[in-house]
């Protein structure tokens, strides 16, 4: 394998690993904040216990999120020095502002975790809110760099020199708001569905223990409400993301849909595999006219096919599957939260039947899978460009040649950290089952200590 492929694999692996913890780092604080607010509103101690236990989990996840993020940041400069040179000259603002977001998050996370017993409930809520703000802002800002790669703005390249730099125009590049919103809402939805997974699993295991069961039921209902809202927003905004691709990166949308011929009344292909030889989707379902409608809100919209682009500029065709996976999971999770809502609020039934419970259990992993699909689609679908129509990935890669060894070493580290974090979480929550806390009284002022 050549060094370019290795560098891409290494960076993709790093990001694929970081994103698991990063997404939860954005999504869980929202759940913690909701639990804190519900506790202050209802004075039901169960919510305080939820906030405390989720914070504990989040504090452990941080032990991986932060170092892998640091790796990602430094690897950008180590593996793609040519890319970072351009970014440094044009798109440095989001990286720089992200540092402030990290500081806010780090300061108030430490305060929330280590000083919870010494600060007032108001300060605690303020601290979690700032953690949420810091984490969301860092996600939005880093996504902005990704948005800039797809829709570059604010500079020109003249004879190899970067000229006419306008850093704020680069910052507010055309796809910034849509991409950033998509990443933020999909992270909130994932945080909620991970809680959904855990509480549904615990409910299945504790059907006999009424006290524990009802604790987890409250968590489940909260997670379904938040997950439902944000999965809907994710889908609506995802639709806009697709329209944005139609406008700015048509070959990416064409690859996502396996569309070869430019046409109006274009059909939407679901499932199946793109066959390059016969130029069609095999084993898929076609919905006539739907793609045109999705891309431009009208059946007459002309959607550009891959054949209008030189083949060397085609993204890899397997992104069709990734895109489908993301959309399918998104739709399924909206459906699932609706089922939960109808069953509980409209039909007023308190117990969910087993099949629904099992669906709840897999909701979190599915959501994470969707995040992975979405990102690999977004980054791989940009190939061969690292900055769309301006800079090729092959031109920015490092000239060093020892990447193979590093790929193995880093993968090993991710495996070690991944296994360790699971073991530590399991160990901790086994040692501190929720039963202990449900019986023990919390101090009257509503304070709590996480460590």
């Amino acid at each position: 394998m050549d060094d370019l492929v290795l560098a891409r694999s290494l960076f993709g692996t790093t990001m694929g690993f970081h994103i698991i913890f990063a997404t939860l780092g954005v999504g869980l604080p929202l759940m913690i904040l909701c639990a804190e607010l519900l506790y202050q509103k209802t004075k039901d101690h169960d919510y305080a216990i939820m906030a405390k236990r989720w914070t504990k989990g989040q504090a452990v996840l941080l032990g991986v999120a932060i170092p892998t993020g640091t790796i990602a940041g430094v690897q950008l400069a180590l593996l793609w020095p040519g890319f970072m040179e351009v970014i440094g000259k044009v798109m440095a603002l989001p990286f720089q502002i992200e540092i402030y977001a990290f500081f806010i998050e780090a300061l108030f996370m430490s305060i929330y975790v280590y000083a919870a017993d010494r600060i007032s409930p108001k300060m605690r809520i303020l601290s979690v809110s700032l953690v949420l703000l810091g984490a969301s802002a860092s996600a939005v800002l880093i996504t902005n760099v990704h948005a800039f790669e797809g829709t570059p703005a604010g500079f020109r390249i003249e004879n190899g020199e970067i000229v006419d730099v306008d850093p704020w125009a680069a910052f507010f590049n055309p796809s910034f708001f849509i991409s950033a919103a998509h990443v933020a809402v999909s992270a909130y939805m994932t945080g909620a569905f991970i809680i959904c997974t855990i509480s549904a699993f615990k409910m299945l295991k504790n059907r006999k223990n009424q006290r524990v069961f009802s604790f987890h039921r409250k968590a489940l209902m909260l997670s379904l409400a938040i997950g439902g809202i944000f999965s809907l927003l994710t889908a609506l905004n995802g639709h806009e993301s697709a329209q944005m691709l139609h406008e700015y990166q048509p070959e990416k949308l064409a690859a996502a849909e396996g569309l070869f011929e430019t046409q109006d009344y274009a059909p939407l292909a679901i499932g199946g595999f793109t066959d390059k030889e016969t130029q069609e989707i095999k084993y898929g379902i076609e919905i006539p006219w739907a793609l045109s409608f999705l891309a431009g809100n009208s059946f007459e919209t002309k959607v550009i096919g891959l054949n209008d682009f030189p083949e060397e500029y085609w993204p890899p065709l397997f992104v069709h599957t990734l895109f489908n996976g993301m959309v399918l999971i998104g739709s399924f999770l909206i459906f699932l939260s609706m089922v939960g809502f109808v069953w509980n609020k409209l039909l007023k039934k308190t117990h969910f039947p087993k099949p629904i419970m099992f669906a709840f259990v897999i909701a979190g992993p599915l959501s994470l899978l969707s995040i992975e699909f979405g990102w690999i689609f977004a980054c791989t679908g940009r190939q061969p460009w690292v900055i769309y129509r301006i800079l090729k990935t092959a031109d920015v890669v490092t000239g060093s040649t020892q990447i193979g060894v590093l790929f193995i070493l880093f993968t090993l580290i991710y495996v070690i950290l991944g296994v360790a974090v699971l073991l530590v979480l399991k160990y901790y929550f086994k040692r501190h089952p929720v039963e202990n806390e449900l019986d023990g009284d919390l101090p009257p002022n509503g304070s709590m200590s996480v460590y």
């Binding site: 440095a92 402030y100 430490s110 360790a420 974090v421």
Partner: protein, 346 residues
């Protein structure tokens, strides 16, 4: 050297200095909590952990801030540094990841605390050594260009006595600074046993770090003479630095101002030592200019686009104004609040 690039390199230097102090504390505290893990009685491990737990995340942000400041202010330097540092940089990242991860895990999984503490303690003093390698690499002589690609000459780097002087300095300084700061911390917390232990460690390690600094100067003369002669121009700073060192040493033997039976004024020593490192690193940094990487990259040739610099600088000011109250609150909760510092459990 334009005013802008000088301003930028000053900000970068400021970050490096803050990180150097915070990181030595951080890494050193990890090391000491490993060394004293079996001395339950002295509480020395607890003291280190109490300091370490809330700060490591904030410290880590500074390393990211340095990389970002380098990339955004000096993209030209990033290109060469990124290329030659691929291997050493990756090793630092791997160790850092292991350390941060296991540091957090060790607080949660008490049964595994010992094994996990060893991982974070050992990687904690190798990392400063590796980080310090970046300095000699920028002095020139260790980079060659093969087929248009900048490459690190590992054999030259690893056989140079100057390299080892820097490594020795990094390790001894880390342990010196951290033991001194922990002495101060345990003094404030009235943990007398821990104070005694850390004061003793500081007294042993201080002279060693000074010897290493002299060793750096001696080897620099041969290995990077341009830097050596430039540094001699800043002799008053270097002398001031050594004087501060001796003031710090003296402070550790003065009788305590507040308590009758205690020896030493660690707070004064900490301040003197900070001034010592500030003066020395200023002399080093100033002598290094205008080169970022000798002789290929100067702060001018690597500098970012002026428009970007202006926009960045505005965010620095706004960011600082927003963050400052947060830092003050953080400091009050963890460094001044006796309720926190005196807890028995970490």
């Amino acid at each position: 050297m334009t005013a802008d690039s000088l301003l930028a390199i000053t900000v970068l230097w400021g970050f490096v200095f803050i990180y150097a102090v915070m990181a030595t504390m951080d890494f050193g505290a990890g090391f000491w909590s490993m060394i004293y893990i079996n001395k339950e009685k002295t509480n020395a491990t607890n003291i280190a952990n109490r300091y370490l737990s809330p700060t490591w995340e904030v410290t880590n942000v500074f390393i990211v801030a340095i990389v970002i400041a380098l990339v955004s202010f000096f993209p030209g330097a990033t290109f060469i540094l990124g290329t030659v540092l691929l291997l050493p940089g990756s090793f630092i990242l791997i160790l850092l990841a292991l350390r941060s991860g296991f540091l957090v895990f060790s607080h949660v999984a008490k049964d595994y605390e010992k094994a996990l503490t060893y991982v974070s303690g050992i990687s904690g003093f190798i990392i400063p050594a590796l980080l310090m390698l970046v300095l000699p690499i920028t002095h020139g002589g260790y980079i060659e260009v093969i087929n248009d690609v900048h490459q690190l000459k590992f054999d030259a780097l690893l056989t140079s006595p100057n390299t080892y002087a820097f490594i020795g300095f990094a390790v001894s300084s880390t342990l010196f600074l951290s033991s001194l700061l922990l002495a101060d911390y345990s003094n404030v917390a009235d943990e007398l046993e821990a104070y005694r232990v850390y004061r003793r460690d500081a007294l042993i390690l201080g002279p060693i770090s000074l010897i290493m600094a002299i060793f750096i100067m001696l080897t620099l003369k041969n290995e990077a003479n341009w830097l050596y002669t430039n540094m001699l121009d800043y002799m008053p700073y270097l002398i001031g630095s050594v004087v501060s060192f001796f003031i710090a040493g003296t402070a550790l033997f003065l009788p305590s101002a507040k308590h009758n039976h205690r020896i030493g004024r660690p707070r004064l020593a900490v301040i003197a030592v900070t001034i010592q490192y500030l003066l020395a690193s200023f002399a080093y940094g100033r002598a290094h200019l205008p080169y970022m990487i000798y002789p290929d990259v100067t702060i001018q040739s690597g500098f970012t686009h002026p428009n970007t610099f202006r926009a960045l600088f505005i965010t620095y000011i706004v960011g600082f104004l927003i963050l400052f109250p947060g830092f003050v609150y953080f400091w009050k909760l963890f460094m001044k609040d006796k309720r926190y510092m005196k807890q028995n459990e970490s």
